[in-house]
Amino acid sequence: MQWEIVIGLEVHAQLSTQSKIFSGSSTAYGAAPNTQASVIDLALPGVLPVLNKGAVERAIKLGLSVGAKINSPSIFARKNYFYPDLPKGYQISQYELPVVQGGNIHIQVDGTEKNIRLTRAHLEEDAGKSLHEDFHGMSGIDLNRAGTPLLEIVSEPDMRSSAEAVAYAKILHALVRWIGICDGNMQEGSFRCDANVSVRPHGTEKLGTRCEIKNLNSFRFLEKAIDYEARRQIEILEDGGAIRQETRLYDANKDETRTMRTKEDANDYRYFPDPDLLPLEIPQSWIDQIKQTLPELPQARRDRYVSAFALSAYDASVLTSSREMADYFDATLKQLPAQAKLCANWIMGEISGQLNKEGIEMTACPITPAQLAALLARINDGTISGKAAKTVFESMWNGELGKNVDAIIEAKGLKQISDDSAIEKLVDQVLAANAQQVADYRNGKEKAFNSLIGQIMKATQGKANPAQVNAMLKKKLDG
């Protein structure tokens, strides 16, 4: 039987506020245990939460970026469960009337565009951390993370493969960073995915029983966990079994998922509106004001690159994979208008490659857009060949000669020979010295032509303008 995989994702994005969602404690990562846990985070009796405007603002930004409805009023609710790293005995979250309702994310897989619908995005607080190392048979609790603002972004079950799920997660990851609401650091847990996975016979409508895989903190694990889980479910069904609704954990070492808890012992969270928090009113004027601060969004920029600069959809999507890269491209292009493809190739090729190799961010790139543009201008005006440009690029990257393009070209003698009479002289010399190959070519051996080109380039250490050499040689041989 042919099976169809159905996937929905829940993403927890940690919002990039200075302070916590309901207290004035710092959210900085990596502080000594419990040094950023105030009376509110500790849930001492008699304290009251006060909502952080910055957290709401970031939620609204996301809503506006995905074309969602912003609910007003929006309501906070208590989600009740017992765990020592949740000292109140409930997590403040949203149930009915989340800040963000609906919305859409466009993904591209294998060149095909697809729309993924969002269900909602709601604000909530993170819990603390439990350390189960042995403290004389006790557990240690660190509440620094308790109260850190999270935006839980929930999709509809619109994805049909792990590739689509990864594409969606990547687009969302790029978006939250692009609009500056989350640093996207997956290692530190700032962006975590839960995947709801089910399978059904191809062509049927009814959704199969789903399993939720928790806390996937890399795109690779997301892909592998979904693939494993779908295989597991299909095997059970093909053996005549039934899927049990449960929460599962992905074990990266064994590349498998395993049961964390089943539906029978699932918590009944007994949500109810939190009486400590009043309904959140979001006036249209506030929404409009936030809209003004939004940058041009990745999708819009992608479309602009394709329509205004005739870049391919692929190039446009690579360039807009981060705002830093797109800004770098824009800044380079500003210095060298009408050379979009050349700029794109170098940014996606040399620049990205070198950044990746050295593990540094675009913002720390040793070559500025203006410097790159100066280099590309020299390719464009025929001063140097593309090959020589790579040598210049390397020197610039290493900070030689103040990264001055012309000085490097001069010092390394990379200037291309573009003078017609000089090239003609060279061609004549090579033709005279290779009478046999000239004869071969005239007898129909096309290969001899390339060999002659090679000789000429060699004689000039690759500095002759290849296009001119080509034309000149053709003229001499055929003319």
Partner: protein, 95 residues
Amino acid sequence: MTLSVSDVKRIADLAYIEIDEDEAKETLIQLSGIFNLIETMQAVDTSAVEPMSHAQSVTQRLREDAVTETDQRELYQSIAPQVEAGLYLVPQVIE
């Protein structure tokens, strides 16, 4: 809605409250009384009324995003039963 003793036990379990058989029966009677009250109220037509999420018709005040709390770990941990290496210690919890 009729409540059973097992429902009461399930609720107690979720709330981490230990109750014995007699207490469960007693609680059943009390909770059932509350449910009867709710049932009586449900006779009122509320279809045109917006659900109330808070008793006062005021809205949430927001605070600016700024760090206003300082590290007072020592003070807060002075009343904790057991601490070590800056951590609050609790009976071991492993699910």
